[in-house]
Symmetry: C2
Subunit: 335 residues, 2 copies
DNA sequence: CTGAAAGCGCTTACAG
DNA sequence: CTGAAAGCGCTTACAG
């Protein structure tokens, strides 16, 4: 790879001037700019981003870190796509870390990303009191939280109205006559699930249905948990007439368990999932689901990060997007 | 963040010595090592990876680039997980670029990653004669191709036996009496699909069924293409009795089109997909599919890249993994 | 408007 | 075994 020095020699100016041309310094004369640009083109020069990043933190070519809980979850894939879409348009590079809800792994990525001098971070914190992320925020490294916020500290966040999303789903089930509604949740250390739980309870309240703790199951957020919890639910003496599952992967796991028992959806049990998937319509049966705008969330987070980098002092923002209940065929009215 | 200088002052040695301790230089005396390590711990010093990378290309803390065609395709998500799993264990960081089968985007990522001084690259080339990647290989930047190789140049690759995978699927369909089998393929610029096509043809040959070009459809590799092509297929005057779809997303799109027309699978049409998904069993009906070991491919590619970095002169390898036909319920025998 | 020089945080011959 | 110094490829005050 050619470097500044080569370009400088080729166009017979100093490396300082070449650097200024690259950075669009308006003080450089038009003539010089042209000359240098010709050399850059001739030598196919590309600035070394590593050197740029080492030298200064406000060059145009940023490096973003993106840390997500589970890339197997299609919702986070949408988030990644959104972030990446914005990054691509703005000539950013993005480093991705997938921590699988493993706290040690999240911490390692935090360390690595800092060592890589990232210009900013988008992260779905493992829980609300994540010290590692708090520290970054305190150090004034630009951070935007996605899907989940932080409880102890003020930070930019973009998420969805989880409470309302869950409320609408449960409300719909209750309107159809269901009273025993199981909730397959993720771990309640994750703020998202606390909020979804709260929506669940509020809907019950509205309909005067007493809350039954034995109907709530919280474990991990993966496929296997969904499968195993659903198995347990199906064995319950007084089987619930409906299931509300807390995320994509839990839903898919639950579906497998239900199908394995040859139980008919929705005739024998109704199910609504939090998170929609492009192929929800091809599931058996087409799945009624709470849609989150993952792509938009990702894009918005990247945009907010961009603004935070440009203007570190600006007031922290809290963006809450809407969910949408996608009615399909996995629920039915009961008497 | 503290730096070498701070540690050096704290332990009263030179920065050179601190650097040697970090890099496990055996020449440093045991006593000094202990002293310096204490300072490193006290100051919570973490080496700056950017400076390391700028200074030298053979430090332990590598940066890997990973460029994939479509992160919405669960197969590539598995690949990402595999790569990331290996990287995590070896303290590598990985940058991901998702190019969506867009050649310009692939090229931009190639440029950015080079500017970021990556230590090596894992990539699924957009087509077999990808000049950009050829150039990297020629420059002796470690590259491992995944899922697809390069035709003009010798390069490490890990992929699957696509021809055999497709052959087995079509053979299965032919054994069940199907003769008109439509093939929903991705673009034939992509080597993977050329190979799958070849397996399709060989199976027909084996059974003495003449090849009918009008049954082969190749467009993009996304959900929408699968949907639209399937619509066309269903409108065909003499409708095929079976569909073989070339990847996950094409399959899911095709399923949506079939369900939208209320056509029963497998009674009215059989379907086999290339690529399996964890939730294939929950599709309507449970999908018969050709399974590729995406996670293993990713891990293997990362491992090979690691070896290539350690030993740039070593002979190029061509690893071919096996597929497995997962028999479920989306195909049926016809008379 | 342009150049010489310092410096970002490291590593690595070279010398002792 | 250890340190002083050069240098990786840049940016940016400072001077003119």
């Amino acid at each position: 790879m050619s470097n500044l020095k080569a370009v400088a020699e080729h166009s017979k100016v100093s490396i300082a001037t070449v650097s200024r041309v690259i950075n669009n310094d308006p003080k450089v004369s038009r003539e010089t700019v042209l000359k240098v640009q010709a050399s850059i083109a001739a030598l196919e020069y590309k600035p070394n981003r590593v050197a740029q990043r080492l030298r200064s933190s406000n060059s145009k070519t940023k490096l973003l870190g993106l840390i997500i809980p589970d890339i197997q979850n299609p919702f986070f894939v949408d988030v990644v796509r959104g972030v990446e879409d914005y990054a691509y348009q703005n000539n950013f590079a993005v480093m991705i870390g997938n921590f699988g809800q493993d706290e040690k792994k999240e911490k390692l990525y935090l360390d690595i990303f800092q060592s890589e001098n990232i210009d900013g971070l988008i992260v779905a914190p493992i829980h609300g009191k994540d010290k590692g992320i708090e520290n970054l925020v305190k150090k004034n490294i630009p951070v935007v939280c996605i899907d989940r916020g932080l409880t102890e500290i003020d930070v930019d966040v973009v998420k969805v109205d989880n409470e309302l999303g869950a409320f609408n789903a449960i409300d719909h089930l209750l309107n159809m006559g269901h009273k025993r509604i199981a909730f397959i949740s993720g771990n309640f250390k994750i703020p998202t699930y606390i909020e979804r739980m709260s929506g669940y309870k509020k809907a019950l309240e509205k309909h005067g249905v007493p809350f039954d703790e034995s109907l709530v199951f919280a474990r991990n957020t993966d496929y296997k948990s969904g499968f195993e919890i659903a198995q347990k639910i199906l064995e319950l003496e007084q089987r619930p007439t409906a299931i509300f599952s807390g995320n994509n992967l839990l839903t898919l796991g639950a579906l497998e368990a239900i199908h394995a028992e040859n139980i008919k959806i929705p005739e024998e049990i109704s199910i609504i999932g939090f998170d929609d998937m492009p192929w929800s319509i091809s599931l058996n049966p087409p799945l009624t689901a709470v849609r989150q705008p993952g792509f938009d969330m990702g894009r918005k987070a990247a945009e907010m990060l961009y603004e935070r980098i440009a203007n570190p002092g600006k007031k922290k923002e809290n963006v809450i997007l809407k969910t949408e209940l996608m009615l399909r065929k996995s629920t039915t009215r009961i008497e």
